[in-house]
Amino acid sequence: MVKVRSLLDNLVFVVSLLGVLPVWLYLDLPTQVIFPLALLVGAWCDRKDHYFLSAMAATLVSIALFIIYALQIDRQNFVDPALNIGVLLLAVRLLTEKEGRHFLQIFLLSGFALAGSTLVTLHLAFLPLMVLLVIGVTSGLVLLCFYSDDPRLALDRKGFVRLLKMMFLLPSGALLLAIFFFFILPRTQHPLWDFLNPNSKTMVGFSEEVRPGAFSSTSTDDTVAFRAQAPEFDPNDLYWRVTVLDQMEGATWKRAELPSRTQPVVIGGTPVEVTIFPATAQEKFLITLDSPMAAQGVRYRRSSDGVFRFYRSTKRPKGYTITSRLNGQFRAERQLDPAPYLQLPQEISPRTRQAAQNLIASDLSAQVSKIETIKIFFRNQGLTYATDNLAIEGDPIDNFLFQSKRGYCEYFSSAMAIMLREVGIPTRLVGGYLGGTYNQLGGYYTVGEKNAHVWVEVLNDNNVWERIDPNLYAINASGSFLARSSFQLPTWQQLADAVDYYWTQAVITFDFARQLEYLKKGRDQLREWRRGEKTSWQLGPWFVIVPLLILAIYRLCKKPVRTEEKLLNQFRRIARNRAESSSIPHNIGLNDMVRRIGDNRAEEFARIYGGALYRDRTLNKEEIGKLRELLKGMQQNRE
């Protein structure tokens, strides 16, 4: 026997846990401690039926907590206090004795907590938790109906199983409807609750300025910067171009977008198409694959140095497709003024300048070009790629080249660019990302903020901007830096990442524009279909596949209906109509039904059908035909 009350108590425990779990990390420390304690003590109290907190005291505590947190609320800080209040009220409620409406309050507060979690995080875990919570709450409501009718009700095994079936039927219907409405209900173009989250995420890893020596070490976290749907390439060719830095101010490289009338021209390389899905909203620049030619799915402006800017910044991450030439190069404009690309600040260390000048004057320079000379210098200098123990005193570039010889991409690229400019070669820095982890399951690259990278472009003798990655000349390049830019994840991580990717794709970025897009697509296809043209249906097959799938599942779940059963059901229906009763009890036999119908045909039916059934053989074709005829006759007779 299962007591409904103990079922309800367990359900309350699970539902509160499900609701608070996703926000727990974001709660204040006291709340973080109080809630699990309240949960455990509450469960103990339910078991012993002894409560420490009286109803009156609970009300007073609730009011006090509410006031404490309500005082903290202002326009900038709304979400955190609200979440804490909700969770604390839930904790108080868990500690008190529970009757009808208290269960409802707990369900409601748990729902609020889960819904509130979307204001602080958009984690994928929301979906399974929501599904479980819906199941829990609907089951709880069903149980409450029973409970309010008879608090001491206990169910036997059979009754419990039947109840379980009903409890799962309701939420599955609700969830199906939720999916339906998710696609149908119009979205707002901007998040409605956005004002609740004024502190937008700051970008880590990639930055719009390059200043070696600003930090003694760079942090490398696992934040995903963007994902790119593309075939698999050599990871060493994957230079994701975001911005070009062409001006030095002090020790800082900045972008001064030099005036230009012409559009960039890309030569060489293999044409590729990649679709980029940034993980967070992009403010200014599109992420492209070097060397980009065009983008689709977004309005943008293109600079002559191959940097793509958003026409208007978006608040939501938005996907777009880039057409590029992998390993292609930008041809410089015909009337390019080299002066801005040679600009150098005053505070360059004499040692660096001297080294550059010496290189040009050396014998080596007579044999190979200036660019090659600089490359060879870097290769021979014994530089180490490192992200910690970096020099920040004095001139970081000088220190990097001649003393510590440790640095990361910003050091390498900055140093090389300075030396190249020093010897009169137009140079610029390109900021972006290098490499990425290819997900075989999803067919896309995941590029993290730790892949952020800076490299150098020089104008070579052919009047083409040539990409040089000085990081490759580090003595430990193959070990540390290249290894970091590309590595394979284990399968389960790939799978988890793929799920996260599709979650972002299908749910987080699903907005009004996407809805309109689908609507337009559907309309266009309908129009073309009306014109009788052969169209390549993109959504079309789904309209067929999905119902077929549902039908197939239904068929699989349902026992196959045999011809005998079909005939019998029809016969029963006729008997039911004749008797004008809503249903026929299961203890009514075939001949009893014949008596109800009172028809020679019914008697004949029973004779043939029973003759086969009770003689352990199946109906043959002739008999089936005859039975169908009889049924038809009986039906017509009625009408």
């Binding site: 009890p585 036999g589 075939l590 009893d592 009770y614």
Partner: protein, 327 residues
């Protein structure tokens, strides 16, 4: 008796029923001309005869129990014997005994009333247990052993015992284990109003019954018995139905002991005979349902605290709870 590897019944699903028409004519003739309003009891008696069992009529005196037995034996052209039970009735009064024949100078066995095709045992609960058990043994074995010599009883053999449920003083009610030996137990019931008035007006028909001409021959009855046993097909669905019925009686909360395997076997035999009478060579669940109360109710042993309940009603509620196999 109930071994699993017994020979399966011959599977001839379309066997013809021998002398079916004659047997139904007996019922129709009797019901129309002599035993008005007793068609149900008559049918059950015929069912019992065809399935080779015995019948227990439980009713107050004067409702035509004897008339029924007499009419049946005459119409069937069978010999009829009657035993009026009293507390001093001895086993030998039933089976017969050896008496010394002085002419031949040896013992001669004189057959008792049980050596008849149809034996009416009136008020069986008045006989003392020793006599009862001798009778029941003879019913079961279909032979009598007297002084070390075994005598076979005539075929066909049907015992119709009667018992007055209202009378308690000086009786030895049959224990449940003995009740189990009867295939079918039924009451006769009062005839309908019109019918009873007619009987009152026309007087007793006992005299008329004596002049009923036999409607069938003995061989035909035996052939019909064989036919009901062998030619009527009992399908798996119906076997399952019978099993579920008996199983349900064993699990019922009012019942201490449900229908036994012998009871299930009897139920199947009675259902077959019922199908035979309906001129059908296979059993349908309705056949089972028609005989389950008369063939099953007397086999139930209710729990002590539920003894006031009517066994028939309890069984009826069980039958209603068991689904009829339809597909």
């Amino acid at each position: 008796m109930y071994t699993m590897n017994r020979k399966p019944t011959p599977i001839n699903k379309d066997a013809a029923l021998a002398h079916q028409a004659e047997m139904t004519r007996v019922i129709d003739t009797l019901a129309e001309n002599y035993l008005q309003g007793k068609i149900r009891a008559l049918k059950l008696a015929m069912t019992t005869l065809l399935s080779g069992g015995h019948l227990l009529l439980e009713d107050i005196p004067g409702l035509g129990k004897t008339t029924l037995a007499l009419a049946l034996s005459n119409a069937l052209g069978l010999s009829f014997g009657r035993i009026q039970c009293t507390s001093d009735l001895l086993p030998s009064d039933i089976t017969g005994l050896s008496i010394f024949d002085r002419n031949d100078n040896r013992f001669r066995f004189v057959e008792g009333p049980i050596f008849n095709n149809i034996v009416l045992v009136d008020e069986i609960n008045r006989a003392m247990p020793k006599t009862q058990s001798a009778l029941l043994e003879a019913m079961e074995e279909r032979r009598v052993t007297v002084e070390g010599k075994t005598y076979s009883l005539p075929q066909p053999f049907l015992v119709i015992a009667t018992q007055n449920p209202a009378e308690q003083v000086g009786t030895y009610p049959l224990p449940e284990s003995q009740m189990d030996r009867f295939l079918i137990t039924t009451d006769i019931g009062y005839p309908p109003e019109e019918m009873e008035k007619m009987i009152i007006r026309d007087g007793s028909i006992r005299e008329d019954i004596r002049h009923i001409e036999p409607l069938v021959k003995k061989e035909e009855i035996e052939a019909a018995q064989r036919s009901a046993h062998e030619a009527v097909y009992l399908g798996d669905k119906v076997i399952d139905y019978i099993y579920r019925l008996t199983a349900a009686t064993r699990e019922h909360r009012y019942i201490a002991s449900g229908i036994s395997t012998r009871g299930g076997l009897g139920l199947a035999a009675a259902a077959k005979a019922s199908a035979f009478l309906a001129n059908r060579n296979y059993v349908v669940p309705e056949d089972v349902r028609d005989v389950v109360i008369p063939a099953g109710a007397h086999r139930l042993i209710l729990k002590p605290e539920q003894e006031a309940l009517d066994k028939k009603e309890v069984l009826r509620s069980i039958v209603e709870s068991v689904a009829v196999p339809l597909a």
